[in-house]
């Protein structure tokens, strides 16, 4: 019983933390820079498919299958998602803010179509299986497998978190927030707002791609159905609940919202008969939508909210003074 609970806890946290990484990516784009991305699912999908193509064994009738190490797959996922973000950003970042929203929405639809129809690359509706799982040699003892994966995904989350925190305190991070708060003022100091926005958008895309790859390798199988607009929406709910602009909030929001999601899912499976499960799942999405709207109305800062972030040199000076 204890072991079961521990196993489930590890499984839950691995999933929640993989969402937390997506959330951290969205936080660079929206939280730090004010860029509105409605196509999160698309960038996650690009990462997942890129890594899957690089690392799976060769399959007849499908491109890819290079059997490269998982680490190279994850790196490739980041590059592929960043390129994708770069293309979208180059077209729309110079236009008004909500054109970016519409275009990212469009790219997510287009990516899903490619995943669904380009059988020779993506396996079509059946997706790609046999994606190598980290610590696969431990699979015989599920508890060890789950805990090892938790350590790995937890490590990746922490690494991403510290790297992004460092960036947020760097001169580069301060320019991003300056552009978000007052573009004219930033431009008058000689900062090329569009170039910085493009960099932030690509970096956020890369982090989302990494998260997609992490998820794909943990589950071992991907299909186009995993990357629907509901995923984008969940990630937004996580970031808003946790507190946009705050990296800790992004992680906390992911764990809280994924916890609520799992709980309501469990409650639905108990309350509704099996024939009504699909309808009950729809009701679950309605509930999350209402929660998001209520939080936007009542507590737009989220649980943690954005903290004042200054250069670490100033912080050090404050402490010594």
């Amino acid at each position: 019983m204890m072991v079961d609970l521990l196993g489930y806890g590890a499984f839950f946290l691995v999933t929640a933390l993989s969402y937390a990484i997506i959330c951290l990516g969205l936080n660079i784009q929206w939280g730090q820079t004010g860029l509105f991305n409605v196509g999160v699912a698309g960038f996650v999908a690009v990462g997942a498919y890129a890594s899957a193509l690089l690392t799976t064994p060769a399959t007849a009738g499908r491109f890819g299958g290079f059997e490269l190490p998982i680490a190279i797959g994850w790196f490739g996922a980041m590059i592929a998602a960043a390129i994708c973000a770069g293309i979208v950003g180059a077209v729309t970042l110079r236009l008004r803010a909500d054109y970016l929203a519409i275009t990212t929405f469009g790219i997510a639809v287009a990516i899903q179509l490619v995943a669904l129809n380009a059988q020779g690359f993506t396996g079509g509706p059946f997706g790609i299986g046999f994606i190598p799982r980290p610590f696969a040699e431990l699979a015989e003892t599920p508890i060890a497998f789950s805990l090892a994966n938790l350590a790995l995904v937890g490590g990746v989350t922490l690494l991403t978190f510290f790297a992004l925190e460092r960036l947020a305190r760097s001169p580069w991070g301060r320019v991003l927030r300056a552009i978000r708060e007052d573009e004219t003022a930033a431009a008058s100091l000689g900062k090329n707002a569009n170039l910085y926005r493009l960099q932030a958008f690509m970096l956020g895309g890369a982090v989302m791609g990494l998260a997609g790859a992490v998820q794909a390798h943990f589950i071992g199988f991907i299909a186009p159905d995993n990357y629907v607009p509901a995923l984008t929406f969940q990630v937004w709910a996580m970031l808003i609940v946790g507190g946009a602009g705050n990296n800790r909030g992004a992680i906390l929001g992911a764990v809280v919202v994924w916890g609520l999601w799992s709980l309501t899912g469990f409650a639905m499976s108990v309350v509704f008969p099996p024939a009504q499960q699909a309808r009950a799942a729809a009701l679950q999405i309605v509930a999350i939508g209402v929660v998001l709207a209520v939080i936007l109305l009542l507590r737009p800062r989220g649980i943690l909210g954005e903290k004042k972030t200054v250069s670490r040199h100033i912080e050090a000076a404050d402490i010594s003074a």
């Binding site: 004010g34 509105f36 409605v38 077209v91 729309t92 236009l95 008004r96 803010a97 909500d98 054109y99 929203a101 519409i102 275009t103 929405f105 469009g106 790219i107 639809v109 287009a110 179509l113 490619v114 669904l116 129809n117 607009p229 509901a230 984008t232 929406f233 937004w236 709910a237 808003i240 699909a278 309808r279 009950a280 729809a282 009701l283 999405i285 309605v286 999350i288 939508g289 209402v290 998001l292 709207a293 936007l296 109305l297 737009p300």
Partner: protein
């Protein structure tokens, strides 16, 4: 090669244009990209379906009219549903958007509309399940026109009704007081308020008209294709493409944009294949944003 795709594209384009009118009006007057617009289309179709069933059960005039596949209950239900969908849009504004508008940033409203859109759509899925349904199961024989092109009476009727609604909208915006007030707010809200225009009334009218036209588009889509909870959401990208192609705020632009998107989509289906249909609107959108972000008839980028 057959020219059938021209007729199909024209019918689909007319409905896209009709939906895009509401989108372009809310976009230019309320100044945010409203992702719930597609779901208002689906809600309009399901409301009409429900009302038509109720009316059909209550009064005996349910037979199809002439060569059409549907009877008076669908038309009467559609008219009532247009009003109800308008009220639904108004309620959404009262509950959500108006409160966020008072607080400022338009981009928060985009997130809120994205969330509300998913909730509205999932609610339909919960109430009616995701199974596609139809206004009528009658089979229609397509009438041959010229050059091997065939159209069904329902398609012709939808085209006619769309032309009627677009004409009425044009008259309303150019000849009536509220129409002129709407255009003034879309040009410059602060200045409009100063010269004594009731901005709140303009916003209410915008939601009512947007919702009613979305419902009409939903009914025609339901008549010529099918009714699904995702019908409006899947139309959202073509709608945005049409509104931006035509120029945000321009009603004739939205209609022409809709026709171009519809024709491009059906040409794409004819020459490339149906699988990538949804990507065609996206490519058009990218092209417009690259070449002429103001659209055909727009002034503001």
């Amino acid at each position: 090669m057959t020219l059938q795709f021209l007729a199909d594209g024209l019918v689909m384009g007319a409905m896209t244009g009709l939906g895009a009118i509401g989108l372009t009006l809310t976009y230019s007057i309320l100044r945010f990209a409203n992702f719930t617009h597609g779901d208002l289309i689906s809600w309009g179709a399901y409301l009409t379906l429900t009302l038509a069933l109720l009316i059909g059960a209550a009064v005996p005039y349910g037979e199809p009219i002439g060569p059409l596949s549907f009877g008076w209950p669908v038309l009467a239900g559609g008219l009532i549903a247009m009003a109800v969908t308008g009220l639904l849009a108004l309620a959404l504004d009262f509950l959500l958007f108006a409160r966020l508008r008072r607080r400022g940033t338009a981009i928060i409203m985009v997130i809120a509309s994205f969330g509300a859109s998913l909730a509205l759509r999932s609610l339909l899925e919960f109430l009616f399940t995701s199974e596609p349904t139809y206004f009528s199961r009658e089979i229609q024989i397509a009438i041959p026109l010229a050059a091997g092109i065939r159209v069904t009476p329902d398609q012709l009727c939808s085209l006619g009704l769309t032309a009627l609604l677009v004409g009425a909208m044009h008259l309303l915006l150019t000849r009536s007081h509220i129409g002129r007030a709407m255009r003034a707010v879309s040009e410059n809200p602060a200045l409009a308020r100063i010269v004594g225009i009731d901005v709140a009334a303009v916003i209410r009218t915008t939601w009512l008209i947007g919702g009613a036209l979305a419902c009409a588009a939903g009914v025609m889509l339901g008549l010529t294709v099918q009714i699904r909870p995702y019908m409006g959401f899947d139309l959202l990208l073509p709608l945005f493409a049409a509104a931006i192609l035509g120029g945000i705020g321009s009603v004739p632009g939205a209609v022409i944009g809709g026709l171009i998107v519809g024709l491009a989509e059906s040409a794409g289906v004819q020459f490339i294949g149906a699988n990538y249909r949804a990507a065609i609107a996206f490519l058009l959108l990218l092209l417009v944003l690259l070449v002429r972000p103001t659209g055909l008839f727009g002034v503001r980028p």
